[in-house]
Assembly symmetry: C2
Homo-oligomer: 492 residues x 2
């Protein structure tokens, strides 16, 4: 039966993907610098072998056969077959010469970006970035044709299946017109907080982080916590590799990052066990993934309930009975809002403005309406309109993110779609299980995790994102829950 | 040109091998227990893909073509082609059904061995081990036919190409008849030493280990030092992963293990850079590898010269001005000899007796002259003859080693052949560069490393082991230098 053969092939692809995930974690956390070249070769070879397996002519034949016999398959198997076809169509859509050209161009642009950013010299990146944008347009056109989508939609769909520009426009444009005024109100009304002063011992920070992770449901028999320059959550569902960075001056910075990554980790760990190593058993998409980290970080862990639980733990861990670490001061700091140039440093209110800027610009670049040479001007204009700031140089402007240089066009909206999804999911979860937030206040995350497991994690890739949201919350993704959340938290 | 195509294919195999080496290191050092099953799947898939690439019919065709065009190849390319053919012949010699049966049988026996050893219950291992031995005989027969070798020689050749039973017999049998008397003399004459008493801080132990590694030429830009239950040297030449274990009670135990593994590491790092990722660029064999670790540990680091250099470092590191850590006491302890049951705890004098026992037994098992049921009796009889000891149970007897359970028959001789090679190489090196040992006494390992690089490391797999030894020392492997070394060190 062709379907079974496909399951074996995709199991193999999953094993290769798992090996690659471990090599990537090792690269970020363990690998000595001099191994860069050797590691790049290993990774390139495994990726190429996976690509060959996926695009092999026989894979296409088995897909045709299996689809013809789909009536014999159950619900999950049919969804698995659909996801297999999705990967295959996307992989064969691109000419191998284009794949190779993209790999070369993004490698060059990534290197150029590092220097250009360090020197605030956009001119040093522009030619390499222009080449990436040119090839990404070709990529978008080829995928658009194969998937019968608009070009930018074809790119979006690669990060979050089912996500379309029309849906994003309908959510981000109203948000973009509301937020600047909202931001003014918040800035005028927010209360001052006491500054947190270190030093906070990093070993104690790690211990507290581990203990909170365990309490939230992270299984240290199937995962680790280590350190890296940029916190991330990697690995595979049964071997999750989470990393943190500890700031001696402010314990909350490293801790909130751990809690954020724990949201990703709980999603991975909760994916359907019966479908491990098959496409339908994988996480839905990047927006849904981000919804899980932001639900934990923003909805849950920046709430007064959680911070009321955390405050005495902080005092006990660091032996400090200090009003700076009181629940109220922690909360004021957790919801502190400020205009700034840098997306990754932004708070919950201003973050979407950074994303809206990038969304508008990348759509225009993908469509050919904006050329790379005009990017710095368009960026600064957008910053003035959305945030009222003019970057003093491109390092604090259009050179701050790596995404476009590595060809990730269509990714940025996932951050804010994830934030909206988090608000809508948490609203639905709290309505269904009113004890969720009170339990969090007692350090009991089981009611929360139970709802997320059943409604999101265990769904894997059974449904596309709009359908997943509708099943979980009774309606498709809307802006209102996110706005309600922002009003309740920042203007109450 | 078929040869170029083969280089590409073997480059791919090397990348897969490198990825596997990293996964293996991670398994031993980092991986959480619950990831066992997932990791086993990843490893099995990568191994299978490598096996498929190697045994692919086209590989055989390209080998034929390349051999027909071999006149166009240079010296190293021809050796590379010979090594490619070697791997291919060995891989295709086995029926895939036998490969699969061996994988299953060794996995079962390895699990059974863990329990059997813990409970000193040979009966719990016997059926699984009998199956491994039965299949290993089939493996030996099939490889013998393909390689035109005797069956046990075909197994030996898998660990150290060119190594033959006749050569081992000619070396180990005389050694086995000399050593028991020699041991008596050493035991009667050796001087008492002061016992080392801890605690030695493990962070300081690690710091000292790192600093010695660096001084010996280990490049921490291309490798790491970590901890694991059993010290080993893994990874790939540009990303060497060395591990250690620190005993609080005795700093010399962990340190000697680090120095031993550093010998392996220097060999890997020194392999010919122009042939990275090709078979001819790999380490020669396991006996040669062991010669490099034993040369560093036994010939160099247990010498009075090195210990004279180490003693003040130990005193300074641990802030102890103590006769226990004097060069003389360290030397007495470094060359302390004792009869014991356990091979891995054995000293330089008794170690070969443990190997001779295993060599005799595994030859007999491979030939069908010894059945698994009779192993405990034969083991204990051999122990009495060679070491004058009777193991009180099989945990201290024939259950102590994992090798046979995982199908590694033909490996044990490499340990003692390596020790002999180390003695012969060090004798030749010291004759050629008389400053080697005096330099070591000043903490300068460059003359030693220079000789090893030129004569062993940079030779990769250009020559077979007998030829490598002859080129480096002027003659094939002999027993005499090892006996001279033992006499000079233990009876002087």
């Amino acid at each position: 039966m062709a379907y079974r053969t496909l399951e074996e092939r995709f199991k193999r692809l999953s094993d290769i993907g798992g090996a690659l995930a471990m090599l990537e974690w090792d690269h970020q956390v363990m690998m000595p610098r001099g191994a860069n070249e050797t590691r790049a070769e290993q990774v390139a070879t495994l990726r190429q072998m996976a690509h060959e397996l996926l695009t092999d002519e026989r894979t296409g034949g088995w897909l045709d056969e299996a689809e013809a016999e789909a009536a014999q398959l159950d619900h999950w198997q049919r969804a698995n077959l659909r996801e297999m076809r999705r990967s295959h169509v996307r992989a064969v859509a691109l000419d191998p010469a284009l794949v190779a050209a993209l790999a070369r161009a993004t490698a060059r642009a990534e290197m150029a970006w590092r220097d250009a950013r360090a020197n605030a010299d956009f001119g040093a990146l522009a030619p390499a970035l222009a080449e990436v944008v040119r090839l990404s347009r070709e990529e978008a056109a080829a995928k658009a044709k194969a998937l019968d989508l608009a070009p930018y939609d074809a790119l979006l769909d690669g990060y979050e299946p089912g996500l379309r520009m029309a849906q994003i426009d309908a959510l981000l444009e109203p948000l973009g017109s509301v937020l600047p005024d909202f931001l003014e109100q918040v800035l005028a009304r927010q209360k001052a907080s006491l500054p947190i002063e270190g030093p906070f011992d990093s070993v104690l920070q790690m211990g507290l982080g581990r203990s909170l992770m365990a309490q939230m449901g992270f299984d240290f028999e199937r995962g680790r916590l280590d350190e890296s320059a940029h916190p991330f959550c990697g690995g595979v569902p049964d071997d999750i590799r989470l990393t943190a960075r500890y700031e001696a001056a402010d314990v909350t910075s490293g801790l909130m990052a751990i809690l954020h990554e724990t949201g990703h980790a709980l999603y991975s760990a909760g994916l359907p066990k019966a479908w491990r190593h098959q496409p339908v058993g994988e996480a839905r998409g990047m927006a849904v993934h981000e919804s899980q980290s932001l639900l934990i970080e923003m909805q849950v862990c920046r709430s007064p309930a959680f911070l009321g639980y955390l405050a005495p733990l902080l005092a006990a861990t660091f032996g400090r009975d200090d009003p700076v670490l009181s629940a109220e001061n922690l909360y004021r700091r957790a919801i502190h809002v400020a205009r700034g140039f840098i997306r990754v440093d932004a708070d919950e209110v201003t973050y979407p403005l950074h994303v809206i800027l990038r969304y508008r610009l990348e759509k225009a670049m993908a469509a050919g309406d904006l050329e790379v040479a005009d990017l710095p001007g368009a960026w600064n204009e957008g910053m003035r309109e959305l945030l009222g700031l003019t970057p003093p140089d491109d390092r604090l402007g259009c050179l701050q993110d790596i995404h476009w240089s590595v060809g990730a066009i269509g990714y940025f909206p996932c951050y804010t779609l994830g934030a909206m999804m988090a608000a809508q999911l948490f609203e639905a979860a709290s309505a269904a299980e009113p004890d969720i937030l009170p339990s969090v206040g007692r350090g009991d995350f089981r009611p929360l995790l139970g709802w997320l497991r059943a409604n999101i994690h265990e769904q894997g890739s059974l449904l596309d994102m709009p359908e997943l949201l509708t099943r979980a919350t009774g309606r498709p993704l809307e802006l209102q829950p996110f706005l309600d959340h922002l009003r309740a938290r920042y203007l109450a």
